[in-house]
């Protein structure tokens, strides 16, 4: 961009360089979302009659509220599982040599870059009636008839936790890497045990990473359309599929728009709560 101001400062570039992307986002990202909001404020499909009918419908309909509630709960469950399983990975990463570190990172990274459909498909193979879990339990004589694992909440949570684990683990690895190892030694030499040191020193100091990981994992798991629908099946309905059904199958765009806005606001609310916590935790960590 020729309009670069302040030619004196050679180390920075003019804001004009951001103009093309800003314009692109304005037209293809901000405008669609505004249009979505505008349509959600209409009571009829044609978008002629203003009103809050769509929102009232959603907020007074036990079914819709149930879908929202189970989606938010699903996110919390997946995030908790990811945190419990992901933290030890990050801890182990700091304890091993550089070779093993690369191995751990690549194990964590690979699923992130592997197709979500492929990863979800793998869980169908594992959780299915003839899948590994049922086959193993049956051959051990522990069960007679196959357990129903697919199309259950348990199945959705475990599959989503695996799919989203990298999003939790990577920020944790970064956060743990920033903790001064001397603090650990100091705590131990002052008589605190390993468990106490972990809960009183390591965990609080890694809070920024915990919060970053939780934000990403939560946002990703409640919007993970493919895994939710393939592992959850027809009986379990979460917000993304609800939105898609209303928009695509029923062509009820204003209601789908209202669902989208409510879902967007729910995600934003969760993200901003986490971000606020993150800011507070940075102060706590003392930087």
């Amino acid at each position: 961009m020729g309009a670069a101001p302040a030619a004196r400062d050679v180390t920075s570039y003019g804001m004009g360089l951001a103009a093309p992307l800003a314009l692109f986002f304005l037209v293809f990202f901000v405008a669609p979302l505004l249009q979505l909001f505008w349509l959600s404020l209409h009571n009829d499909t044609a978008g002629l009659h203003w009103g809050l009918g769509q929102y009232l419908h959603f907020l007074t309909d036990p079914f819709s509220l149930g879908v929202l509630g189970s989606t938010l709960l699903l996110g919390a469950e997946v995030t908790a599982v990811c945190l419990v399983l992901g933290f030890p990975i990050a801890w182990l990463y700091q304890r091993v040599g550089p070779k093993l570190q690369t191995v751990i990172i690549l194990i964590v990274l690979l699923p992130l870059l592997t197709s979500v459909v492929v990863r979800t498909f793998a869980w169908i193979v594992i959780l299915g009636r003839q899948g590994i879990i049922n086959a193993t339990l049956q051959s051990l004589g522990l069960i007679d008839t196959p357990l129903k694992l697919l199309y259950t909440q348990f199945g959705v949570v475990i599959a989503l936790a695996q799919v989203q684990m990298p999003l939790m683990t990577l920020p944790l690895i970064t956060a743990l890497g920033r903790i001064d190892p001397n603090l650990d030694d100091a705590s131990c030499s002052l008589g605190a045990g390993s468990w106490r040191t972990f809960f009183r020193i390591v965990l609080p100091l890694s809070l920024p990473g915990v919060i970053a990981g939780c934000t990403l994992t939560y946002a990703a798991s409640i919007t993970a359309f493919i895994t939710q629908s393939l592992i959850g099946g027809g009986q379990m309905l979460f917000m993304p599929m609800y939105l898609y059904q209303q928009a695509s199958t029923l062509q009820n765009w204003p209601f789908a728009a209202a669902i989208s806005i409510i879902f967007l606001l729910a995600v934003l609310a969760v993200v901003s709560v986490f971000t606020t916590l993150g800011r507070m935790s940075r102060g706590y960590g003392g930087a």
């Binding site: 570039y13 249009q35 182990l92 592997t114 131990c188 390993s194 993304p240 939105l243």
Partner: protein, 271 residues
């Protein structure tokens, strides 16, 4: 005495943490291994372990023209979306990375927001806007939609690479009489290139794998690979999908290995 107690306590802690970590790593890696093994089955079902091994489903995949067609579409859209993301994203990253102004920070949040907002809501919103202005869904609308959700990866990785660039290098270059463009071409670009490539790679992979945006923005004639796979899996459990998954897993591993060499991908994503 207290020393011994502490050791036992330390061992219990390390044991618990290590066991959970190993189980977690196994949970992460197991599904891909299972799919790889099942894809070589000689049977008709996804039973594990397979009754026997053969390459029959890979042969089947070779003839599955519907999947080839979908894969070609996904590849073309991903390449265009990645190209557009790199051009727009790198320019934007140059502008906002060294600026501490409010507008730079606001733009940064704007460019990052597609990462946390539900992509399905964005897909629906984009479809509504396109139909309002009379632009029919086509490969073009797909590329536009994919670029919005992929550009954050390019911006983030380029900003990170620029943040590690020594400002003194740019000053020295200017003092020695190099023009800004020359400095950019000979100093800045070579140093941030690995960051740009890493961002472009992640953008490409996420476009190739995108379902929520494609669901709304594709036309009936443009079948996309992940959607085709998803719909096949909803209908029946076809073992051909296992073979295709095998190909995708191997391709991902190969690409990540190359990227690790070229860009040090793993360090980039943990810093």
């Amino acid at each position: 005495m207290s020393g011994r107690k502490r050791t036992l306590e330390a061992i219990s802690f390390e044991l618990v943490m290590t066991v959970i970590a190993v189980i977690a790593l196994l949970i992460i890696i197991a599904p891909s291994l299972v799919v790889l093994i099942v894809s070589f089955t000689s049977g008709f079902s996804l039973r594990f372990p397979p009754p026997g091994y053969s390459l029959r489903w890979y042969v089947e995949l070779w003839n599955a023209w519907q999947l080839h067609f979908a894969a070609k579409n996904s590849l073309i859209v991903a390449l265009w979306a990645t190209g557009l993301s790199v051009v727009l994203g790198v320019a934007a990253a140059l502008a906002i990375s060294r600026s501490r102004t409010l507008s730079a920070r606001l733009l940064d949040s704007l460019f990052m927001s597609p990462l946390v907002l539900p992509a399905l809501a964005f897909g629906l919103a984009a479809l509504m806007l396109f139909s309002l202005v009379g632009l029919p869904v086509s490969p073009l609308t797909l590329v536009i939609g994919h670029t919005v959700v992929c550009v954050p990866y390019v911006v983030r990785n380029t900003v990170a690479a620029l943040a590690q660039l020594e400002p003194t290098l740019l000053e020295s270059s200017a003092v020695l009489g190099a023009s800004r463009l020359y400095t950019f071409r000979r100093i800045v670009l070579p140093l941030i290139r690995p960051g740009i490539i890493a961002g472009a790679f992640i953008a490409f992979m996420s476009s190739f794998d995108n379902v929520p945006v494609s669901l709304f923005l594709r036309d009936a004639a443009t079948d996309m690979l992940p959607i085709r796979m998803w719909q096949d899996l909803e209908g029946k459990l076809d073992v051909t999908i296992a073979a295709l998954s095998g190909v995708l897993i191997i391709a991902t591993i190969a690409l990540v290995a190359v990227m690790e060499r070229v860009t040090g991908l793993s360090r980039r994503l943990t810093n």
